[in-house]
């Protein structure tokens, strides 16, 4: 059992810096998810904790001990890889026992630990099989088993579910969470899937281009994203963004199409009279009557999901179909039946407004 302290970690490959100083204190037993788009450095960060990548600058502490120069095997960690990295020429039992043998544990102790882990993961009947005789989900379990038997202080997961199909991913996600709770071992989990990130994490680290944009609980991040990047990355469908000008009295924002959005009691600071980015989540836009409307959308596409209906629209007619990624999404009840081409008047619900600085993308106000 141990906490992990990451202090101002940097990583460079030659002259190119890919991680620009990341700091986070992870408490014992905490489940931390590192999330970000591909190439943002999230796997690199994890591999530095594992000892598979050299640390260019900064310090990593595991259980109060600086491990910068410590070999992976002596860091008291276990890692689950994206491709599982099971030894193909060994049986499931041998895969799990490999590390224990290298620890010079007595045979009966190895047997006991493997059996216990196999029980927990329900892979007892596969112990004699080779990895290639197992399905993706079973391999995933064996990889977890190999990590568990080491009884490490820290679990590291490098996108462990991305090779599974969608349905299995949901099940395994829940299993990993339950397992981590039961073993109460500090865990770092890397993923690019924001649903995985939201559901698993005690705290999330949102990485963007080598910077930690925000480190907080999933709900706090969802409700108070620290930057436009975080707001757009976390949440599905992604948050809607507009650019507008904050009026000089700070009470409303005029967006490009001429529509006015009320600021209400949002603290706008010294941004009055300046251009500003507005973010509103799809579920915070509610259809209303024409004279209450803040924005009038022309619907360009409708997605009927059963439990909900997503209407994609634009504020003016000129938008092309190919521009769908910039469409404004309104989340409506499952029984709503908006039609393409129809005009949809909407307004921002109370507390639904997020404002971001146009230049830095940082959140304005609280």
């Amino acid at each position: 059992m141990a906490g992990v302290n990451i202090r101002n970690i940097k990583k460079s490959y030659g002259a190119i810096e890919v991680l620009h100083g990341i700091s986070v204190d992870i408490e014992d037993g905490e489940f931390i998810v590192i999330v970000g788009a591909s190439g943002c450095g999230k796997s690199t960060l994890l591999r530095m904790v594992a000892g598979l990548e050299a640390i260019t600058e900064g310090e990593i502490e595991i259980g109060g001990r600086v491990v910068n120069e410590v070999e992976p095997k002596d860091r008291d960690i276990a890692m689950v890889f994206q491709n599982y990295a099971l030894y193909p020429h060994m049986s499931v039992y041998q895969n799990m026992a490999y590390g224990l043998k290298l620890m010079n544990l007595p045979k009966d102790e190895i047997q006991a630990r493997v059996d216990k882990a196999a029980d927990m993961l329900q892979i007892g009947e596969y112990l004699k099989r080779r990895p290639r005789e197992l399905s993706g989900g079973q391999r995933q379990r064996v990889a977890m088993g190999r990590a568990i038997v080491r009884e490490p202080s820290v679990f590291l997961f490098d996108e462990p579910l991305s090779n599974l199909d969608a349905k299995l991913r949901v099940t395994m996600r829940l299993e990993i969470r339950a397992l981590q709770r039961r073993l109460d071992v500090t865990s770092l989990y890397v993923t690019h899937d924001q649903v995985e990130a939201m559901t698993l994490a005690d705290r999330l680290i949102v990485l963007n281009d080598g910077y930690a944009e925000q480190i907080d609980t999933p709900l706090n991040i969802y409700e108070n994203p620290a930057s436009e990047f975080v707001a757009g990355f976390i949440g599905s469908p992604p948050m809607n963004f507009f650019t507008g000008d904050l009026s000089t009295d700070g009470k409303s924002i005029e967006i490009d199409s001429g529509a006015k959005i009320a600021v209400k009691d949002y603290p706008v600071g010294d941004n009055v009279g300046k251009p500003i980015r507005i973010g509103v989540r799809a579920e915070k836009l509610e259809p209303c009557s024409r004279n209450e409307a803040e924005i009038i959308l022309k619907i360009a596409a409708v997605e009927t999901l059963g439990s909900e209906t997503l209407a994609h629209g634009f504020t003016d007619d000129g938008m092309a179909i190919t521009d769908m990624e910039n469409s404004i999404v309104v989340k409506m009840p499952g029984d709503a039946r908006p039609t393409v081409g129809e005009e949809l008047p909407v307004r921002v619900m109370a507390g639904g407004l997020h404002l971001f600085d146009v230049g830095t993308g940082k959140r304005v106000g609280g």
Partner: protein, 293 residues
């Protein structure tokens, strides 16, 4: 499922494979047939008369100590060449696999010897080890060792083994390196986290995973040592001294073209042919069975 391509005209596919078939027939099947036929004949030294003698040539071979000696000599030679060239190549590949800087330079240099013709490889070693002129022989002399492969049969054997091994290392290296690089990096990383040091990782992960390649190379190397080393023997020792390096493939030549015992030589080449066939069958059998991970 592979899509099958159909030709409209029936003669085209035949025309396309005809050159290859022609070459196979003229340079392989015909000489092989000739050898089999000739192995049943006894010819006088002047080539004036031939007699059909059935298996007499073969019986004579097995009764001949020189031939059975050559057999065990060949076995020793090829096992040594296969073992040495495989193990040295394995070590080199293992090291090249870990290198990051200048990796391509090392690899290129290590592959070069493969481009050297066997006779030239032999000539290189003759020059280096020549008892009167050779640099290595001179160096050995400084250490008080009197090297003379022209008189000492053991030294002659060592020399041809060295030359043949040196030539084959590149080929093995290439295959070993490719096999090692196809092992997913994460496997080795997992092993490192599990507590295995570099040597342990090599023997418990890398080596078992490249077994199919090792087996393939073992067969190829034995075939090489059996049949492709004629040039080296011819250039380095001519089978001498006193037949100490007279391996089967060289004996076929020396008995047939120097000793002019055409029937006996043909019988020897038929035996060699049988050996190749057996090795090939073993190889196909096992390689087919061998699991790929």
């Amino acid at each position: 499922m592979l899509k099958r391509v159909h030709f409209n005209t029936s003669w085209l596919p035949f025309a396309l494979v005809a050159p290859q078939i022609f070459i196979t027939v003229v340079f392989f099947l015909w000489p092989a047939g000739q050898a089999i036929f000739q192995s049943f004949l006894l010819e006088d030294a002047f080539g004036l008369s031939t007699e059909f003698v059935w298996f007499d040539n073969f019986k004579e071979l097995w009764a001949d100590d020189a031939y059975t000696d050559s057999f065990s000599r060949t076995a020793f030679f090829s096992l040594m060449v296969a073992f040495l060239s495989l193990s040295i190549a394995l070590v080199l590949a293992g090291m090249a696999d870990r290198i990051v800087k200048f990796a391509t330079t090392y690899r290129t240099l290590l592959i070069w010897p493969y481009a050297v013709a066997p006779v030239l490889a032999g000539a290189l070693f003759v020059f280096m080890f020549d008892p009167t002129l050779g640099l290595v022989a001179y160096a050995l002399d400084i250490f008080g060792y009197d090297w003379n492969h022209k008189l000492n049969g053991g030294e002659a054997m060592a020399l041809v083994i060295m030359a043949a091994t040196w030539k084959q290392i590149s080929y093995n290296f290439l295959f070993f390196l490719a096999a090692m690089q196809s092992i997913p990096k994460s496997l080795l990383e997992a092993a490192a986290i599990d507590g295995a040091g570099p040597a342990r990782r090599f023997w418990t992960i890398i080596f078992p995973l490249i077994t199919p390649t090792t087996f393939f190379l073992l067969v190829v190397n034995i075939v090489y040592a059996f049949f492709d080393t004629f040039g080296i023997i011819s250039a380095v020792t001519d089978g001498g001294p006193a037949g100490a390096t007279n391996i089967l493939v060289y004996k076929v030549y020396s008995d047939g073209f120097i000793g002019l015992d055409l029937g006996g030589s043909a019988a020897q080449s038929v035996v060699l042919m049988a050996i190749v066939i057996v090795i090939t069958i073993i190889q196909f059998r096992y390689i087919e069975k061998k699991v790929d991970y």
